[in-house]
């Protein structure tokens, strides 16, 4: 019996590869296994190789695995592209329709199951994915009934007959596999899972759920990979709470519309990826200058320009920290797990309103789209804090000669009282031009300095829960591994392997990218001989930020990957050994 295995299904885009993986994973998630899946896909709808790699484990896992136990192939290309990932003795199950072959020098077992033929006999070749799932169950020794609940839910609307046919397809796939293999094959049976109920979701789902729970009632956004799921979820859910989503003409409109709605008092967000964020840069400056709260999600993907739109990368870091002309206070947060993505979505809204600033919620494609098992979230941790927003309908008279409210009053903490349009005696002016305390344009030098200092002072007292996730068991470590966003899983998996080789390894995962938690990082760096920064980009952006804030250049080393694919644990282990 084993505690974890990796399964991959591949074929042409548009032939049901995603749903095959989805049904397989959902059924196992229901039994209490921890799932982690990562899709390889291209920027097209039909055609082109796609695959979905799913890891099943009896304990929590947040990374793709080095190797593969089972490969399900709907075409020969899938085998050609992926067969070398298979472990010694791994299994390939291909549709007999294309006469699958595997390289002779590899020790893998090939089974040609007539996926399409069995499905066609049952009425439609579309069910070939169910036949493949059936064959998988036979390898794993899972009863076919494990899928019943999921199949019923998915096909309930199409009627009992369709459910029955699909279950039959699964059964026939299992039967045919058993005939071919001559019964149970060894080495693929999973230990029983704990049976606990967990969610099965992508990072974007968690962020979107966080926004709904955190009081977002309006969103303006433009579709883009890998951010669109956030918008799609809010389109479905916001109308239940009186809210709505506008799909705008571009990201400039998305961002400025969100600023307009936040100014008028509704928690409003927008989400995009690198190209969209580039278009929003001027508006981010407007939010900073006018002190209108704003939350923007940046789901990083391969850049520059259109880059690798469906691939993993973490190369927007510098742009998010420094982006927009001029100088504004801004917070950049980078959750490292799906759970954190949920809580951080709520917190981003609070920080934006409390400090009256733009907040970038940074993710990467692997975190945004990797689908995984997630423990139930804690409702009691959802808190809505709106800072100095005064909810009164009527305010006292002001001493301004025009009766204008001092929306930009210079205060000790730099944060001014905030009112929204419609309030009596709350009238003020808002402008991206430098302005006085009532918002009227002013170029007076002394005023400029006062307002600039006031804005930049706001983050001096920023309170942020866990800016760095620390695993630091060693007072004198050989290596400190540093990362942000989705690399947490792969680093956590590499550490025990490095320790098994006698290295002492600490880990710091940075969750608050800006303002940079320099003090916390300094103490971690002091305890390590080598600092290795693991990141999916070509120039070592996080390493450079670390050097800029903490110094110690001689200790800091780059571990980079920018070919579009996430790190594998073995890559981190190998390169760490090379570097120390």
């Amino acid at each position: 019996m084993i505690d974890q295995l990796s399964w991959k299904v591949g074929g042409q885009q548009g032939e049901g590869i995603d749903s095959t993986g989805e049904i397989f994973a959902m059924a196992l998630n229901r039994q209490g296994y921890y799932l982690y899946s990562y899709r390889h896909f291209s920027s097209r709808i039909k055609g082109g190789h796609t695959n979905n790699k799913i890891r099943v484990s009896t304990s929590e896992t947040r990374s793709i695995s080095d190797d593969l136990d089972i490969l399900i192939a709907f075409d020969q290309e899938t085998i050609d592209v992926n067969v070398h990932e298979l472990r010694d003795g791994g299994v390939v199950i291909g549709d007999s329709k294309f006469n699958p072959t595997v390289p002779e020098d590899l020790n893998v077992r090939l089974y040609a199951v007539p996926f399409t033929e069995i499905a066609s006999e049952l009425g439609t070749s579309l069910m070939k994915n169910m036949v493949a799932i059936g064959a998988t169950s036979a390898v794993l020794g899972l009863p076919v009934e494990s899928y019943l609940e999921v199949v019923e839910e998915i096909f309930a609307r199409k009627g009992a007959k369709v459910v029955e046919k699909n279950m039959e397809a699964i059964q026939k796939g299992a039967d045919r596999f058993n005939e071919l293999s001559g019964g149970q094959i060894d080495g693929f049976q999973l230990n029983k899972a704990d049976g606990k109920k967990r969610m099965f979701m992508i990072g974007n789902d968690a962020i979107a759920l966080g926004f709904v729970a955190g009081g977002v009632r309006f969103m303006s956004a433009y579709p883009i990979t890998p951010a669109s799921e956030i918008m799609e979820y809010l389109i479905k859910k916001l109308p239940e709470f009186g809210g709505t989503v506008i799909q705008t003409e571009d990201e400039i409109a998305a961002c400025t519309m969100a600023i307009g709605a936040n100014y008028a008092g509704v928690r409003t967000i927008t989400s995009s990826a690198g190209p969209g964020l580039s278009l929003m840069m001027e508006a981010l400056g407007l939010s900073g200058m006018t002190e209108v709260p704003l939350v923007v999600v940046d789901t990083q993907r391969g850049g520059p320009s259109t880059g690798l739109p469906t691939k993993q990368e973490q190369s927007d870091l510098m742009a998010m920290i420094y982006g927009t002309h001029g100088e504004i206070p801004k917070v950049v947060m980078a959750p490292s797990t799906v759970e954190e993505a949920f809580y951080d979505a709520v917190e981003a809204l609070n920080i934006a309103e409390e400090y009256q600033i733009p907040v970038i919620l940074l993710t990467d494609l692997q975190l945004s789209l990797g689908k995984q098992s997630v423990e139930p979230l804690d409702y009691s941790r959802v808190e809505i804090r709106r800072g100095k927003l005064d909810p009164k309908e009527e305010l006292p008279d002001t001493d301004d000669k025009d009766g204008y409210f001092k929306r930009y009053e210079v205060t000790e903490d730099g944060i001014s009282p905030r009112v929204i349009p419609g309030m009596k005696n709350g009238i003020h002016h808002v402008t991206g031009v430098e302005h006085d305390e009532t918002g009227k344009p002013s170029e007076v030098a002394a005023n400029r300095q006062k307002q600039m200092d006031k804005r930049l002072r706001k983050l001096q007292n920023l309170s942020f829960n866990v800016p760095v996730v620390k695993q630091a068991p060693h007072e004198e470590a050989d290596i400190l591994l540093v990362g942000f966003n989705s690399t947490r899983g792969v680093i956590e998996e590499a550490i025990p392997r490095l320790e098994a080789d006698g290295l002492k390894v600490n880990h710091a995962h940075i969750r608050l990218i800006h303002p940079f938690p320099a003090d916390e990082m300094r103490s971690m760096i002091d305890k390590a001989k080598n600092v290795i920064v693991v990141e999916n980009n070509a120039t070592g952006q996080l390493a450079n930020i670390l050097k800029m804030n903490v110094g110690q250049h001689e200790k800091i080393k780059n571990l980079l990957k920018y070919d579009g694919n996430p790190f594998l644990p073995s890559e981190v282990v190998m390169k760490c050994k090379e570097l120390v």
Binding site: R30, K197, M199, M201, D205, L209, V212, A213, G214, G215, R217, F218, S220, L238, E240, F241, G242, G243, T244, I246, T248, E249, I252, A253, A254, T256, M257, A258, I259, G260, A261, N262, Y263, A264, G265, V266, R267, T268, L286, V374, Y379, V382, I384, K401, D402, Y404, I420, P421, G422, N425, G426, I427, H428, H429, V430, T431, G432, V433, G439, K440
Partner: protein, 288 residues
């Protein structure tokens, strides 16, 4: 009840003496009072340029945004609080050059706001460059040999984009302009009002006298029917777009807010943000 004086503040506009924008400012203040608004229920959102300063010259909630983006900001304000009257405003460069994408989409989206463009066929604040409303042959700093690009027929364009309220006026005609702005505010949907507002400093061609000579009042056209889109288009084309009055109005089509599925009847800014625990648990269970 507020009078037009309640919409005034003490700020002296930085417009040149004789600028057409003064009358537009006065017309907005009068129209706001005439339709019964209070200053704290009005939000004026403006873009960048000479005319973009208008949000600071009217006593109301004012938002002076970034170049070309007054419309998305204004639409966001309205979506957040449908009880507010929202006026977006700016110049022809703001709305028909850098912001043209937003103008076309705001028109077809039909959110209930009023968009007033102060159209002077030139870039004033940057000291005299060509605008998308400049005529072919118009000499400016950026077109010293005369513009070779066609001027955009914005009223015609609005009609083809699905506009439900299209009007044009002239800044000297304060009475007509005021009544058109009132009609725009009262219109249930997006209203586009293009106002010829001459630039006395940089545009020596399209002057007050030039407009007086060339503008045709729709009131003088026999049997003109502003509910007839075909007639509106034909009249615009026959007069090279140089007409004034309410060109077209569709009083039937519901606004975006009335069509948006599930969108709160109560101002969204006043809706309770808290999610009940049962609801939260239900949302979580949908992922299980």
């Amino acid at each position: 009840m507020a009078t037009f004086k309640d919409f005034r503040n003490s700020i002296k506009p930085n417009w040149c003496p004789g600028c057409g924008d003064f009358s537009v400012q006065a017309a907005i203040q009068r129209a706001a009072a005439n339709v019964g608004l209070e200053p704290d229920n009005l939000a004026v959102v403006s873009g960048i340029g000479c005319s973009g300063r208008i949000s600071g010259y009217i006593k109301s909630y004012g938002f002076h945004g970034i170049h070309g983006r007054s419309l998305p900001i204004a639409q966001g304000v309205k979506m957040a609080n449908r009880d507010l009257t929202v006026i977006a405003s700016g110049g022809d460069g703001d709305g028909f050059a850098i912001g043209m994408g937003h103008t076309v989409h705001a028109i077809r989206r039909n959110i209930d706001i009023t968009y007033i463009v102060m159209d002077n066929q030139i870039y004033g604040l940057t000291k005299g460059q060509t605008s998308p409303r400049s005529d072919v042959g118009f000499k400016t700093k950026s077109t010293p040999e005369g513009s070779v690009e066609s001027a955009i027929g914005v009223m015609e364009l609005a009609l083809t984009a699905g506009a439900t309220f299209v009007a044009q006026s002239f800044s000297t005609d304060l009475k007509e302009l005021t009544s058109i702005i009132e009609a725009g505010i009262n219109h249930k949907g997006f209203s586009l009002i293009n106002v010829f507002s001459p630039c006395v400093t940089y545009n020596k061609v399209n002057t007050y006298d030039w407009f007086k000579e060339h503008l045709v009042s729709l009131g003088t056209i026999e049997d003109y029917d502003s509910s007839n889109r075909m007639m509106a288009m034909q009249t615009l084309m026959e007069n090279k777009g140089l007409v004034k009055g309410i060109i077209y109005q569709d009083k039937v089509k519901p606004s975006y807010q009335d069509l948006a599925h599930g969108y709160s009847k109560e101002a969204l800014a006043k809706v309770d943000l808290n999610l009940p625990e049962e609801k939260f648990n239900q949302l979580m269970s949908e992922f299980m």
